[in-house]
Amino acid sequence: MKKSIMIWAISAIVYLGIVIGAYSVFDSINPKTEQHTNQTSH
C-alpha cells in the first residue's frame, strides 16, 4: 500500500481508537443510568 494511503488509514484507526478510549474513560467516570439519553438510528 502506498505511503499516503497508509497515513490516511492509520490516522483513521488512531482517531477511532481515541474516540473509543475517550468514551470508555468518560463512561467509567459517569456510569450509565436509565436516565441517560440513547440514540436510535432509523
Binding site: A9, A12, V19, Y23, T37, N38, S41, H42
Partner: protein
C-alpha cells in the same frame, strides 16, 4: 483578429462533473480573442484556439483559476554552465519566459541554476534545453529530477483512495449502528457506545469536514461564479443531515430518556460512497487512456547516435535532424529516418498491421518504433520529436479523444441546467412532505430532501459520452483506425454509400509495365527511350511503372526538354528533340492523331484489366504501352463484407471504363464511375449526397482531397503520412479495405455504447428523483445508487476496450 491563430492546451484540476467543464468552456469562450474552446472532463484537458495578439496563455490560466479551478504546472530545475555575469542570467530568464508554456523561469546566478514552472502540455524539457543551447549556454536537468515524470492523475487516485479508506473506517461504526436497527437485523450485537450521539458526532465530523471538504470548496467556487454543480448537491445534502443531527444532539442534552433520531450515518455513508464513485471514475479515466499509453510504449527510450567522432547513447528526446543513428538487430528504430548504411528486414506490424517484415536497404525510409529484425543499420534522422509518424498518430488519437461529438454537447447543456432544477425539486419535495404528507415531521421531510439531492447528481450524464469516445477511439487506434474527431466517430455509422478510388485503394497502387506494342516501322529501343524519358518527369504511379519497366530492360534515361501533365488525358513532352503525346483516346482525338486502327488492340488489353496508353511521336501513332496494377489481396473479401453490411459500393477512377470494369468485376464491385477527372470525383460525391445518401470517400488523400473533403466522411488509406491525415476525417493506417468495415463497425459500437450510457445516466436520475420524492429511497441508498451510476457508466464504456473486430 489576426489571421494567425494559436492553439494551447491545459491540464485542469478540480473539475467534478460536466457542469464544471461547461462552465470553464463558456468562461473561456467569452474571452476576447478566443476562436474555439473545448474542455474534456474525462481527459481533464482544455484545448483553446486564439489570437495571440489579443489573448495570452497567462490570461487563460488566470480565467481558469478565477472560475475556481487550477492548471497543472510542472516544475523543473536545471544546472547552467557558461554564465559569466548577471546579464547572462537575464538573457536566459528572458528566453525561457518567452517560450510558449513557460509560466515562470527564475535564474539563480550564484548557484548557477534555473527553476522553471511550466505547462507540460505546451513545452517539454528538451525544448527548453534546445532554446538555451542556441544562446550558447548549456543547461542540464538536476540529477534528482532527471527522468521523473509527475503523473498527476495517479496522485489524484492515491489521494481519493486514502480519503475513501479514512471515511470507510470512521463510517463503519455508524453503518453498523444503522444496520442493527432494522426490524430484520435486531439480532446483531452492537456496542452501546456507537449509539451515543456524541460518539457518532465525533466519528462523523472528520468525515464531513476533512474528507467532505472538497465538496464544500467546489460548491463555494461554483456558487461564487453563479452556477451550480454536483458539489452543491452533495454539500447541501450531507450538510442537511449532519447539522440537523447536531441540532438534535444538542437539544437532547439533559432531556432524560428521550429517544433521538439522528442522521450522522446518512452524511458519513453518503460521503464515503461518493468518494468511492469518484475513485472508480479516476481509475477508469486512467484506463480509458490506455490506448495512448500503449502507443507511447511503442517508442524507444534511447538512441545510439554517432556525433563528434564517437558513438553515444542519448535519450530519444535529444536526437536532432540529421543525426546518424545506429540500430542494432532486435532494437526499435528510435526516430523516422532514411537508411544510409546496411540492410535489414523491418517489422512494421505495430503501425501498419503488415505481419511480414519488409526488406529495407540504403535509401529506404524507416518509421520510428518499428523493429529492426536482423541487420545492423545506420539511419539518418529525418523526423524527430513531434514530427515522427508515431507522434502524429498519438496526436490524432489524443485530439479525437478530446473532441466533442455532437451528442455530447447535448449532454453538457442538460448537465448545466440540471442542478438548479434539482435543487428546486428537492425544496418542493421538502415543502410537500412537511406541510401536506407528514405535516410537522421535519425529519421525514428532510430525509426526502436529501435523497432527491443525492440521487439527482448528474455526474454520470457528464461522463457518459467522453468515456465512450475515449475508449472507442483508443480501441480503434489499436486496429489502425484513427478517427480525427469525436464527431467523425458519431457520423461514420450513418454511412450508406462507400466510394472507393481505384489506384492505391482497391489496387496496390504499384503497377508494372506488362505490354509494349509497336506501330509498324518503329524501332523498339528508340521508342522505349523516348517514352521513358518523357514519363520520367511524371509523378503518376502509372508513369513510374513505365519508367521502371523500361529501366529493367537496360535502357538509360535522361531528362526531357519539356513536360506537361494534362490531368485526365495524359502527358505532352519533348524528349531528344521529338514531341510526344502519351495518354488516352481523348488525348489523341484532341491532337487529331489517327489511332482508329489501334483501338481494338487497346480494348483487348483493357479487357484484361490493364491500363493501356497510346503513344504518338511527332504527331503520328507510334505504339501502345500497358501497365497492370495488382488488386490487394483483401479487396474482394472487404468489398463483400461492405455489401453484407447493407452498404452500396461504388468505384471511381480516372482510368478508362473497360479497365475499371475489369477490376471491378474481379473484386465484386457492381457500380463503376470511370474516366472521371480529379475535380469530377468531388462532383460525383455531391450527386450521391443530393440523392439523399450518406457518402464515405476512400482514397489516398493526396489527389483525392476535394472528394475527401466533400464526402460526409473522408477516409485516407495508407501509411498515415502527414498529407493523408490532413485531408481525411479518418486514417486507415493498415492500408487494406477491411479497415473500412472495421471503422464503421467501431463507430456503431461506440455510438451504441454512448446511447446505453446516456440512457442509464438519465434513467437513474429520472426514475430516481420521483422515487426519492415519494419516499421510497433512503438517503444512503440514493448515495449508493448515484455512485453506482457513475461507475456503471464508466465500466460500460470500458467494455469498448475489449471489442473484437468481426472476422
Amino acid at each position: 483578429m489576426s489571421n494567425e491563430l494559436k492553439e494551447t492546451n491545459f491540464q485542469i484540476t478540480g473539475m467534478t462533473c460536466a457542469a464544471c467543464a461547461t462552465r470553464i468552456e463558456k468562461g473561456i469562450k467569452k474571452m476576447e480573442g478566443v476562436k474555439e474552446a473545448n474542455v474534456n472532463l474525462a481527459l481533464e484537458k482544455s484545448t483553446i484556439k486564439y489570437d495571440p495578439e489579443v489573448a495570452s496563455e497567462q490570461d487563460f490560466q488566470k480565467k481558469i483559476q478565477d472560475l475556481g479551478y487550477d492548471v497543472v504546472k510542472d516544475k523543473v530545475e536545471f544546472d547552467i554552465t557558461g554564465m559569466t555575469c548577471a546579464a547572462c542570467a537575464n538573457k536566459i530568464e528572458k528566453r525561457l519566459n518567452k517560450l510558449d508554456g513557460v509560466d515562470k523561469a527564475a535564474v539563480n546566478f550564484a548557484l548557477e541554476t534555473v527553476l522553471v514552472e511550466y505547462n507540460p502540455e505546451q513545452v517539454t524539457v528538451p525544448e527548453m534545453k534546445e532554446a538555451i543551447n542556441k544562446l550558447g549556454y548549456t543547461i542540464e536537468q538536476k540529477i534528482e529530477n532527471a527522468g521523473e515524470k509527475v503523473d498527476h492523475r495517479q496522485i489524484e487516485i492515491e489521494k481519493q483512495q486514502g480519503k475513501f479508506i479514512f471515511s470507510l473506517i470512521l463510517s463503519f461504526p455508524l453503518l453498523w449502528a444503522m444496520v442493527s436497527h432494522f426490524e430484520f437485523t435486531k439480532f446483531i450485537w452492537l456496542p452501546d457506545m456507537f449509539m451515543n450521539p456524541w460518539v457518532q458526532f465525533a466519528l462523523a465530523t472528520p468525515v464531513q469536514f476533512v474528507v467532505g471538504k472538497q465538496f464544500y470548496v467546489g460548491a463555494y467556487k461554483a456558487l461564487r461564479n453563479k452556477s451550480a454543480n454536483m458539489d452543491v448537491l452533495v454539500a447541501l445534502g450531507t450538510s442537511a443531515a449532519y447539522f440537523y443531527s447536531l441540532y438534535l444532539s444538542i437539544r437532547s442534552i439533559g432531556s432524560g430518556t428521550h429517544m433521538v433520531e439522528l442522521y450522522y450515518e446518512t452524511s458519513s455513508i453518503l460521503i464515503t460512497l461518493i468518494i468511492l464513485g469518484k475513485l472508480f471514475e479516476a481509475k477508469a479515466k486512467g484506463r480509458s487512456s490506455e490506448a495512448i499509453k500503449k502507443l507511447m510504449g511503442l517508442q524507444a527510450k534511447n538512441a545510439t547516435v554517432f556525433r563528434d567522432g564517437q558513438e553515444m547513447m542519448i535519450p530519444i528526446e535529444e536526437v536532432i535532424l540529421g543525426d546518424i543513428v545506429y540500430v542494432k538487430p532486435g532494437e526499435r528504430v528510435p526516430v523516422d529516418g532514411e537508411i544510409v548504411e546496411g540492410q535489414s528486414a523491418i517489422d512494421e506490424s505495430m503501425l501498419t498491421g503488415e505481419s511480414i517484415p519488409i526488406d529495407k536497404t540504403i535509401g529506404d525510409s524507416v518509421i520510428g518504433s518499428t523493429i529492426n529484425k536482423n541487420g545492423f543499420l545506420k539511419i539518418k534522422a529525418t523526423k524527430v520529436g513531434k514530427d515522427t509518424a508515431l507522434a502524429q498518430i498519438i496526436k490524432v488519437v489524443e485530439e479525437a479523444q478530446g473532441s466533442k461529438a455532437p451528442i455530447q454537447r447535448l449532454a453538457d447543456v442538460i448537465s448545466g441546467i440540471f442542478v438548479p432544477i434539482v435543487v428546486g425539486i428537492a425544496i418542493i419535495t421538502f415543502l410537500v412532505w412537511y406541510f401536506f404528507v407528514s405535516p410537522g415531521e421535519f425529519a421525514e421531510a428532510l430525509e426526502k430532501f436529501i435523497a432527491v439531492l443525492v440521487i439527482a447528481c448528474p455526474c454520470a450524464l457528464g461522463l457518459a459520452t467522453p468515456t465512450s469516445i475515449m475508449a472507442g477511439s483508443g480501441r480503434a487506434a489499436e486496429f489502425g483506425i484513427l478517427f480525427k474527431g469525436g464527431e467523425h466517430l458519431e457520423t461514420t455509422h450513418r454511412i450508406d454509400t462507400i466510394i472507393l478510388d481505384k489506384t492505391g485503394t482497391v489496387t496496390n497502387g504499384k503497377p508494372s509495365l506488362t505490354d509494349v506494342i509497336l506501330a509498324e516501322g518503329v524501332d523498339e529501343k528508340e521508342f522505349l527511350t523516348l517514352v521513358g524519358t518523357a514519363e520520367k518527369n511524371s509523378e503518376h504511379p502509372l508513369a513510374e511503372a513505365i519508367v521502371e519497366g523500361i529501366k529493367e530492360k537496360g535502357i538509360e534515361l535522361e531528362g526531357s526538354e519539356t513536360f506537361e501533365a494534362i490531368p485526365g488525358f495524359g502527358i505532352q513532352s519533348t524528349a531528344n528533340g521529338k514531341q510526344l503525346y502519351i495518354g488516352t483516346r481523348r488525348l489523341m482525338a484532341k491532337q487529331n492523331i489517327n489511332v482508329q486502327d489501334e483501338l481494338a488492340k487497346m480494348e483487348n488489353l483493357e479487357k484484361q484489366g490493364k491500363t493501356a496508353m497510346l503513344v504518338a511521336i511527332e504527331g503520328r501513332f507510334a505504339g501502345i504501352v500497358a501497365v497492370a496494377d495488382t488488386i490487394k489481396e483483401t479487396s474482394k473479401e472487404a468489398i463483400s463484407r461492405l455489401y453484407s453490411m447493407g452498404l452500396e459500393v461504388v468505384m471511381i477512377t480516372g482510368d478508362n471504363t473497360q479497365t475499371a470494369q475489369a477490376i471491378a468485376d474481379q473484386v465484386g464491385i457492381k457500380k463503376v464511375i470511370a474516366e472521371v477527372l480529379p475535380e469530377g470525383k468531388a462532383e460525383e460525391v455531391e450527386k450521391l449526397q443530393k440523392s439523399g445518401k450518406k457518402v464515405a470517400m476512400v482514397g489516398d488523400g493526396i489527389n483525392d482531397a476535394p472528394a475527401l473533403a466533400t464526402a460526409d466522411i473522408g477516409m485516407a488509406i495508407g501509411t498515415g503520412t502527414d498529407v493523408a491525415m490532413e485531408a481525411a476525417d479518418i486514417t486507415l493506417i493498415r492500408g487494406d479495405l477491411t479497415s473500412i468495415a472495421d471503422a464503421i463497425f467501431m463507430s456503431k459500437k461506440t455510438i451504441t455504447n454512448i446511447k446505453q450510457n446516456l440512457f442509464w445516466a438519465l434513467a437513474y436520475n429520472c426514475i430516481g428523483i420521483p422515487i426519492a420524492a415519494i419516499g421510497f429511497l433512503a438517503p444512503w441508498l440514493a448515495g449508493a445508487a448515484m455512485a453506482f451510476s457513475s461507475v456503471s457508466v464508466v465500466l460500460n464504456a470500458l467494455r469498448l476496450q475489449r471489442v473484437k473486430l468481426k472476422a
